[in-house]
């Protein structure tokens, strides 16, 4: 197969009227790749302050049928989960990412919530995961895979609940890329999921249906404690997932 490889590369070079790139040109191109220079970034989110970005994120997410519940503190997360499940007539049973950041929430105060911590399996109805960031620009969540964050949780169950801290909201995709690079010295996680609303299709007569193959419902529990803490210094976005 390296024969095909060489033939394709040779044809490309021939069409460009040159041989392999000079060392200097290759160095310049390599510099372009590693500099991570941003192209034009829309002002929509970048022009806002942090609170404005959180509000924009919520508005954009709700526009695409994501539901958002704002809670004041980490302590209120389990209750918000239980309330949401009850309001949707769902059983108080969920499969949760085995991620230590989710240990920060007082699950034992809500013993009626049956929680399994694992990857999702066929038949799981509700999942709960953390996320790395949320992108205000389009109401998009950014989730990364890893031993503690199996990707199946994002797609198999009918209902996907995501816990998001307000400090994790960033303006644009490029801010998200910076967080990915900061979280991992080399390369990317196996999977980075940018999720904007529940699964949908318009394949039959252009009429949008939710829940084509992935979740029918996407629910975000937005923890705002950094804002009420009001100590002036907002936590670094994605902070508690960093360094892994």
């Amino acid at each position: 197969m390296s024969e095909a490889r060489n033939a394709i590369l040779a044809r490309i070079r021939e069409a460009r009227g040159r041989g392999p790139l000079s060392a200097e040109t290759a160095r310049q191109l390599e510099e372009r790749v590693t500099a991570h220079r941003r192209n034009l970034v829309p002002r929509r989110a970048a022009a806002l302050d942090r609170a404005g970005q959180v509000d924009l994120f919520v508005a954009m997410a709700e526009e695409v049928q994501t539901s958002v519940a704002r809670v004041a503190s980490a302590a209120a997360v389990p209750e918000a989960v239980a309330r949401y499940l009850a309001s949707e007539n769902l059983p108080a049973e969920l499969v949760m990412a085995p991620d230590p950041t989710l240990d920060a929430y007082p699950w034992n105060e809500w013993p009626m919530l049956a929680i399994r911590r694992a990857a999702a399996a066929a038949g799981d109805a509700v999942s709960l995961t953390p996320c790395l960031a949320a992108i205000a620009e389009t109401g998009t969540l950014m989730l990364t895979s890893g031993p503690e964050r199996p990707t199946t949780l994002n797609f198999l169950p009918d209902t996907h609940i995501v816990v998001l801290r307000a400090a994790q909201v960033v303006a644009c995709y490029e801010d998200g890329w910076d967080l990915l690079r900061a979280a991992k010295a080399e390369g990317l996680p196996r999977t980075v999921n940018l999720i904007t609303g529940p699964s949908r299709t318009g394949d039959i007569e252009q009429r949008i249906q939710l829940g084509a193959h992935g979740p029918r419902r996407l629910h975000i529990i937005l923890v705002e404690e950094e804002r009420v803490a009001g100590d002036g210094e907002a936590e670094e976005p994605g902070g508690h997932l960093g360094g892994r």
Partner: protein, 476 residues
Amino acid sequence: MQPTSHLFRENSRAELANGTLQAALGMAKTGFPLRRQAAVARLPEFEALREAGRAIKDHVLDNLDFYLERYERHVVAAGGQVHWARTAEEARDRIVEICRSVGAKTVAKGKSMVAEEIALNDHLEKNGIAPIETDLGEYIIQLRHEPPSHIIAPAMHLLKGQVADTFRAAHRDLDPARPLDEPRTLCDEAREVLRPRFLAADVGITGANFLVAETGSGIIVTNEGNGDLTQTLPRVHIVMTSIEKVVPTLEDAATLLRLLARSATGQEFSSYTTISTGPRRPGDRDGPEQYHVVLLDNGRSAMLGTEFQDMLRCIRCSACMNHCPVYAAIGGHAYGWVYPGPMGAVLTPTLIGLAEAGHLPNASTFCGRCESVCPVKIPLPKMMRHWREREFAQRLSPPVYRGGLRLWGWVARRPALYRAMTGITARAMGLVGGRRGRFRSLPLASGWSLVRDMPAPQGRTFHSLWAERQKRRPAP
């Protein structure tokens, strides 16, 4: 699939008379363009982003060898493998080899136009491997043994009743009493049938919208989530893609992603944009054990440095066909191969030859809407014109057509004669047709006047009116 592009005229005539197709097209005609327009209006930077998108793609095409090699190095560094394929045949063979190496019996497939281009499903079946299309539209047309009629909405040519009939015929366990009247119930039926197949599939094949040289990642953009189940659940993930999809960095991908969904469906962003890099990592509880990329050329490198190079910027959004009056009238199947609409009219002759696909670049009124909505500013009408020139130069068009063109060319190069002849003709036609104001039929052009009337000239030519107007105009 066996192309029928050479039968374009016959195909179109049949499609114009096809009532269900016309009803389905009627529903699609306004949906996509209106949604795109609304999304573009909300983003003041959209025009500037188009220019940035074009610049990124042009930069990649100038240095394609560098970015492909860099991409490959990073795929390998992440534990994946890259298989280069010059032709459709090489790509198909590699995929079958990979499937065989793991003893695969079933393959789950996300939507991939490159897989359509290489007719992958037929080849898998011939080798005893069952492909299961999982995108709802692709699944429907797979059951019906039809090709896609649109690059992002493959079953756009069907009405819900046809989909219901298809499911009743194919799903043997389906309770006849179960209502399948609405898109909702049809969607649920497909979801139920396909879920166990995802879980049982040995190999998952997806396409890629972008390949990132910086990280060795593939990016897919979907709404249903089928592409994600396809690449997460089976033991092996194969990315079937082509060489022009590489971009330098995640930042460059972000710019193109901002253009893609808005141009395609008018969404701000698709539900799922997924960046995958290599196989599962140590400790991961899910994800594929093997990660393969099949990188197809199939005539693309031969477009570099030619008048068709700009076509390699295409990000397959479908805006051109969504805004094309010809596509809106006849749908995608009439084009006779995988890629319909204006992008298909330019790309198809490159991939299957001008002798087969010569009609397609002629199927345009040159209204220019395709170019004006293209997110990477591909000059589609100009390239269709290049194909027409080649068709003429290679003597592929019928003699009458060539003779007519040659005659017109001869006259048009003699302005005095041209003006005299058009002046006389316009006056004569004005006299004859003046009372009715139109001609129901024209001698030597009955094919043209079969479906439309020719408005009668008012007696003056454009040239003479223009000259008069210029004279009347006050000097600046």
